[in-house]
């Protein structure tokens, strides 16, 4: 069953910097943008790019992700040859191990990739929000004859030290790779999206596995090793919206970006749709006194109060006299009468009791005390409770420290 191209999606990470939001689910399963989960973006990109064979490498808390992906039908990936496959670590006659690193996760699934005998493998992460046509990147990879093509984007020079930076020559051939350089020589940041020629990658994965000193990671080990060996490593420049939503702040930012198409994240653009598994519910109802401005909302919701600059998922209720501003409300959140929610991320199924105060605006708070307030999925606040800014509560309503 030969395929030209297979995608491998790294979805095993815990996403520990999302703290309580990923207490019960892997990061790619975290809801995003009112309608989606993070993994909808790479899966939709695959589907829209004509890649119909996708391996999803899972490890941390995969239940939510498994049930979300199901047969792959929402992304049109339920095809009879290929399709989407969940690939957890497994045992064989010699035993088995957890995925030790990103490269090891692919190494352990060499059998899966070989089964489809592809020319190229696309390696993707499950924690980025972007729309990208992978087929153009693969095309460039093929034309250049590279062993590996890495997608890069220009970032502000000031931010460059936070990224993996690629130095390139005049033909965009990568000459040097620097992980979080203090003195960056370029502002081309790796987006964590790689195209490899499979038979070359396969060889390096075997070599990397044999090296006991390696931490079996693409960025740390495999790519530097390939570069050192003189392989042709190309950079593919991407222009458009791309965001790593690995932290609470960046997740909140990306949700807010969705409200302003100027940000570059235009989800209404139907030429490159993002698909999602949806649930059945009637259209949203906006009550007689609803005051909703600059906000997104979804089906199954009943909005009676005031909502501004917020992103509301499916099945959210905002009672009359409740106020929600600059917040992200995940599916099924209930905000009861008189409650005020500001600058907060509320996990799936949270209930904010009557008269609660959750979070605060930066202008009302001393700068050193300010930050987003985050409630874990399922957290229920009794009436009149105040949760200060920069606070995180777990499912039982107990405060959790950000480490």
């Amino acid at each position: 069953m030969k395929k030209e191209c297979v995608a491998m999606l790294l979805a095993g990470g815990q996403g520990s910097r999302l703290y309580v939001l990923t207490g019960d689910m892997a990061k790619p399963a975290v809801p995003f943008g009112g309608k989606y989960r993070i993994i909808d973006f790479p899966l939709s990109n695959c589907s829209n790019s004509g890649i119909d064979t996708v391996g999803v490498l899972t490890q941390y808390r995969p239940l939510e992700l498994n049930s979300y992906i199901g047969s792959g039908q929402p992304w049109d990936l339920d095809v009879s040859s290929g399709g989407v496959h969940i690939l957890p670590p497994y045992m064989d006659s010699q035993g088995g191990t957890w995925y030790k690193g990103t490269a090891n996760a692919i190494y352990q699934n060499i059998g899966f990739v070989d089964f489809y005998d592809p020319e190229y493998v696309v390696i993707l992460s499950g924690d980025h929000i972007y729309k990208m046509d992978y087929s153009r990147m693969v095309e460039r990879h093929r034309e250049s004859g590279a062993a590996c093509t890495i997608s890069v984007m220009e970032v502000p020079w000031a931010d460059a030290p936070r990224f993996g930076i690629m130095n390139v020559d005049g033909e965009d051939r990568i000459t040097e790779f620097a992980e979080k350089p203090k003195q960056p020589k370029s502002n081309l940041a790796s987006m964590g999206i790689y195209v490899f020629t499979w038979k070359t990658l396969r060889r390096y994965l075997v070599e990397d596995e044999a090296d006991p000193a390696s931490s079996n990671d693409f960025g740390k080990n495999v790519i530097p090793r390939m570069l050192a060996a003189g392989e042709y490593m190309g950079a593919y420049r991407f222009e458009g919206y791309w965001k790593d939503v690995g932290t609470l702040e960046s997740l909140w930012d990306a949700n807010m970006d969705m409200l302003s198409p100027e940000s570059g994240l235009d989800l209404l653009d139907e030429s490159w749709p993002v698909y999602a598994r949806t649930f059945s519910a009637p259209a949203a109802f906006l009550g007689k006194n609803a005051a909703i401005t600059h906000s997104a909302f979804n089906r199954g919701s009943d909005l009676e109060g005031k909502v501004e600059n917020s992103v509301l998922s499916q099945g959210v209720n905002v009672a009359p006299d409740a106020v929600v501003s600059y917040s992200v409300l995940m599916p099924g959140v209930q905000v009861e009468s008189g409650a005020v929610v500001q600058y907060a991320i509320l996990g799936e199924g949270c209930r904010v009791g009557e008269g609660c105060r959750v979070g605060a605006a930066p202008e009302e708070t001393a700068p050193e005390n300010w930050g987003l307030t985050v409630l874990a999925p399922g957290c229920a606040l009794e009436a009149e409770r105040t949760v200060p800014p920069n606070t995180m509560l777990d499912r039982t309503g107990r405060e959790v420290e950000k480490k």
């Binding site: 698909y275 009637p282 259209a283 109802f285 906000s295 997104a296 909302f297």
Partner: protein, 370 residues
């Protein structure tokens, strides 16, 4: 096999839907912001455990076929059984000459399908009925009562186009069947009937051998003495989408939370085909109150007391009041709409004003630019 088999009739017979009915059968009328009328019959059946449903088609069925697909949205895409489309290949007239004259003729045309029904009981429903019935309970009550036929009816005599009305005895037995009434009386039939497969087959055979074709006159009316026909009264919301007026009034009733709660009750969800629209969005100076708004809408102007289907865009300065706007309607800057039903992909150009009346809503045909 125990359980319920569904047969949904979807054929042209109603002429009061104006332009809305010209491009689709009543079963595929959009309703309530994101549904098609037939979603209700299908969901009612599936929620009662039915896993095999036949849909009898006739005329203007392309829109309905698009909507139904393989039946996946209702979990009716099954290895065995599931959704079966029963196209109008078998009716007695020459192609295009006439519609089925009645349900019994339609059923006679699919006699081989009927004989393959695996379940002991069959529910006959119309595709234009918007309701959320506890069909499982109705089947229980049908079996316990020992009735030959259970006829579901409303507790009102609400006037509907081509409606059927029952006189019920104090015990609930149907004693008379009335239609073509100037002043409706008795209980309005919801055109939902439960009976055993055997009885249905024998009725179909008997009708076809006497060239009889009408369920209403040749079965219900003719056999009300010999068959035990029991009424089962539903007190809740039940709309039969047969005229623009009824369509509009019934749509607007959905702005009442009690009616929504009942029609969309969580125990018996109404399922619809899902579309890949993003979230709905209201702009900083947009305003929207007392309205149902589906996914993918963009509101930059003002919307009041309206129902917006997916992807409707109301531009800056536009005002929409008491309207039903179908999928992808575009209301340009400064336009004003009231008491208007706009079909799919209608575009209202800037600064146009269109005003209907509650008793006579304006209808704008699919794809029009005004």
């Amino acid at each position: 096999m125990n359980g319920l088999h569904g047969i949904i009739f979807s054929y042209e017979k109603h002429n009061d839907l104006w332009e809305l009915g010209a491009v689709r059968s009543p079963s595929s009328m959009p309703f309530g912001g994101r549904y098609r009328a037939i979603d209700f019959a299908l969901s009612n059946l599936v929620n009662a455990g039915a896993r095999d449903v036949g849909v009898v088609l006739h005329g203007q069925y392309q829109s309905l076929l698009d909507h139904l697909g393989t039946g996946k949205s209702w979990d009716l895409s099954r290895k065995y059984g599931g959704l079966k489309i029963l196209p109008p290949f078998a009716y007695h007239q020459a192609w295009g000459e006439a519609a089925f004259r009645g349900k019994m003729e339609a059923l006679a045309g699919v006699r081989s399908y009927l004989s393959g029904i695996r379940q002991d009981y069959v529910a006959l429903m119309d595709g234009d009925l918007v309701v959320n019935l506890p069909l499982a309970d109705i089947l229980d009550s049908h079996i316990k009562s020992g009735a030959d036929i259970t006829a579901v009816c409303g507790d009102d005599s609400f006037r509907v186009e081509d409606g059927t009305y029952f006189q019920l005895s104090p015990e609930g037995r149907v004693t008379d069947v009335l239609y073509h009434l100037n002043t409706p009386r008795g209980n309005r039939s919801l055109e939902v009937y439960l009976l055993s497969r055997e009885l249905l087959l024998s009725l179909v055979d008997e009708c076809v051998s006497h060239d009889l074709y009408s369920w209403r006159s040749d079965v219900l009316q003719a056999k009300k003495e010999t068959l035990n026909i029991q009424g089962w009264i539903w007190k809740g919301f039940a709309a039969q989408i047969r005229s623009v007026r009824e369509y509009y009034d019934r749509s607007m009733q959905l702005l009442n939370p009690d009616i929504r709660r009942e029609l969309f009750c969580a125990q018996r969800p109404i399922r619809a085909k899902s579309a890949d629209k993003s979230s709905a969005y209201i702009a900083p100076d947009g305003r929207c109150v007392n309205s149902l708004v589906a996914d993918g809408c963009g509101i930059f102007g003002t919307v009041e007391n309206s129902i917006l289907f997916p992807g409707v865009k109301v531009e800056h300065g536009a005002i929409v009041r008491n309207c039903v706007l179908f999928k992808d309607t575009l209301v340009r800057e400064g336009a004003e709409l009231a008491y208007t039903i706009a079909d799919k992909r209608v575009e209202i150009l800037p600064l146009r004003t269109l005003v209907g009346h509650a008793s006579y809503p304006l209808v704008i045909a699919k794809g029009s630019r005004v």
